[in-house]
Homo-oligomer: 312 residues x 2
C-alpha cells in the first residue's frame, strides 16, 4: 500500500502545500494564505488544519503518512529549530515540537532556499548529482549547499546565504543586510537592473534600454540577446561578480554542479554563458570542470525539497 | 580488550605514523622516509611493512585493528580514491583497494588538509564543535571543512582548497596554481613575507624589518608585537584579505569556529586579532559570532585525523 508525505513551503504571502507519494510523485498541490497577524501565531495551526483536511478528503490515515517536511524563510539549524523568520513575524520556534503536537506527525524543517536546493537535486536541474550548490537569483540572491545528498545547514542555519558574499569594495550603498558590496546588490534581479540604470546614466552610449520604462533583469537580458553592447557590458559585470563568487564557493565545497534558479534564470542559458566564462577564469583547476545547469522546478522546488526532507 | 587503529599521514618527505587505541589515545608515533622513486610505487608497501612490524612488536593481531586511516597530499574523493598526488609522484590510486590488499586491513583515506582538520576537531583546537573550518597558513594556504563532524570532500576531493580563493584583481604575479591573485599569495608564510618586502621597497618609512636579512612571516609578526607601523600595515593587509575570504566561506558553510593552524599560527593570537576584525566587518550578520581558535596539534593533526577516519 502506498505511503504519503507532505511538503510545505511557508512564504510571507502564501503557504505552498504538496501531497506526495513516497516514490516522489506529486499527488496534489495547493496554497493557503499566510496569516502573519498576531506574530504569525496562526500559521502553524493553519498548516495543521489544511493537512488534516487533505487527509480526510483523501481518506489517508496517520499511519500512511511518513511525515511533513517544511521550508521556512529564515535560518533553521540542523535540529529543525527556526531561529527567526522576519517575514513570518516569528522569533525562535521549535517547529518540530509545535507542528508535531498539532498534527501528530513527524516533522522535519529546513531553510527555504536550502530545501529548494534539495528539491532541485531530487527532481529538477540537479538530478543525478549528490554534491550541488543551488544559486537563486530573484529579488535577492539565495543559495543552498547539498553535500552527499544532504543539506548543509551550518551552525546557525546560515549556510547557503551566498547573496552576502562581499564582492566589491567600491559600492557604498547598503545591502538589506546592512553591509556594503554584497553579491545580492549586483547579481539579483534588482541588482542587475540597477547596474543597467547606473550604466545608462554614466554614458551617452546608445542602447535599446534607453527606451524601456522600468528596466528589469529581463529587459537587460532581452537586450543582450539582440546584441545591445551596453546590455552586454552589464551582463559581463554581473557574470564577473557571480563567477568569481562561485569560484570561491567551489574551493570551499567543490560541487559537481551549480544549479541556477530564481526569476533571473528565466532568461535562459544566456546567463550561464556570462557566469561560466568568469567562473573558469578564477576557479582553482581542481574545480575547473564543475557543470552549470538551470533549475527546473520553479516555485515548486520548495514543496518537492520539503517532501524529500522526510522521505530521506 | 582494547582495540587499536593506525593513523598515517603521507607527506612528500616523510610518512608520519601513529598507533592509537580506539578511545583516541596515541600509543606511539614514528616516521619513515617517503620513497618517491619509481613513481612513488614503493610508498604503500613501505607503509604496509611498518604497520606489520608495529603489530608484531606490540603483539597486536589483525582482529584487534579496526582499520588504517591515511592522509594524502592531493585530492581524495569521498570513496577514498586518490585522484593524483604530485608530491608523491602518483596519478590515480585506489588506495582503499591497494593498501587494503597489502595489509589485510580496512582502509579509509582523505586529503591531508581535510584529515588534519578532522584531527583538530577531535583532539585539538576544534574540540567541542561539529561544524569547523580549519585554515592552515604554511608555505601555502590549505583548509578543511568539517560539517556535522564529517569531512566535506567534494565532487573531486577539491573541497577546502581555500588558498585559491581569488582575492585581488591587481596582483599580476602567478600563484603556483597558475591563477593570479589567490589568497595563498598574500596569506601564506611566503605571501606575508612578500607583502612586507614589497612594502619596504615602496616606501622610505622606518621599520625594524629593514634590519632583517631574510624576512619571514615570523619576523613580520615579531615586529607587529613591538608596535612597528610598517609591519602593522602588512598585518592589516593580510587580515583584510583573509577576513574577507573567511566571510565568504562562512556564508557558504556557516561553521561554529575557524581553527587557524600552520607555521604562521605560531605567532599566536595576534594573527587572529587581525583576521577577526575584518571578518566581522565583511560577514553576513547570521555568522557574525563565529569563533576563532588556534590549532593545537601541530604536525600531529594529520595522524590524529587519519585515526579518526577509521574510528568514525
Amino acid at each position: 500500500m502506498s505511503k504519503y508525505c507532505f511538503g510545505i513551503d511557508i512564504g510571507g504571502t502564501t503557504v505552498k502545500c504538496g501531497l506526495f507519494d513516497t516514490d516522489g510523485n506529486m499527488v496534489e498541490n495547493w496554497e493557503i494564505v499566510t496569516q502573519t497577524e498576531d506574530k504569525g501565531s496562526h500559521i502553524l495551526s493553519d498548516v495543521a488544519e489544511t493537512i488534516a483536511a487533505k487527509m480526510r478528503e483523501k481518506s489517508i490515515g496517520k499511519g500512511d503518512i511518513v511525515g511533513v517536511g517544511v521550508g521556512i524563510p529564515g535560518p533553521v539549524n540542523a535540529k529543525g529549530e527556526v531561529l527567526c523568520a522576519v517575514n513570518l513575524h516569528w522569533d525562535y520556534v521549535n517547529i518540530v515540537d509545535v507542528l508535531g503536537k498539532l498534527t501528530g506527525l513527524t516533522i522535519k524543517a529546513g531553510n527555504d532556499a536550502n530545501v529548494a536546493a534539495l528539491g532541485e537535486v531530487w527532481k529538477g536541474g540537479g538530478v543525478g548529482y549528490k554534491n550541488v550548490v543551488m544559486v537563486t537569483l530573484g529579488t535577492g540572491v539565495g543559495g543552498g549547499v547539498i553535500s552527499d545528498g544532504h543539506i548543509i545547514a551550518g551552525a546557525n542555519g546560515g549556510a547557503g546565504e551566498i547573496g552576502h558574499i562581499h564582492v566589491d569594495d567600491e559600492i557604498d550603498a547598503a545591502c538589506n543586510c546592512g553591509n556594503c558590496g554584497c553579491l545580492e546588490q549586483v547579481a539579483s534581479a534588482t541588482g542587475i537592473a540597477k547596474l543597467a540604470v547606473d550604466k545608462l546614466k554614466e554614458t551617452d552610449e546608445p542602447s535599446l534600454l534607453r527606451g524601456v520604462q522600468n528596466i528589469s533583469a529581463k529587459s537587460v537580458f532581452d537586450a543582450v540577446k539582440t546584441g545591445d553592447q551596453l546590455a552586454i557590458d552589464v551582463a559581463e559585470r554581473f557574470g564577473k561578480y557571480l563567477g568569481k563568487a562561485l569560484a570561491a564557493i567551489a574551493v570551499t565545497v567543490d560541487p559537481e554542479v551549480f544549479v541556477i534558479g530564481g526569476g533571473v534564470s528565466k532568461a535562459g542559458s544566456v546567463i550561464i554563458d556570462y557566469i561560466e566564462i568568469y567562473y573558469r577564469q578564477y576557479v582553482f583547476k581542481g574545480s575547473l570542470h564543475t557543470k552549470f545547469a538551470l533549475a527546473k522546478l520553479g516555485n515548486d522546488a520548495g514543496i518537492y525539497g520539503a517532501a524529500k526532507l522526510v522521505i530521506g
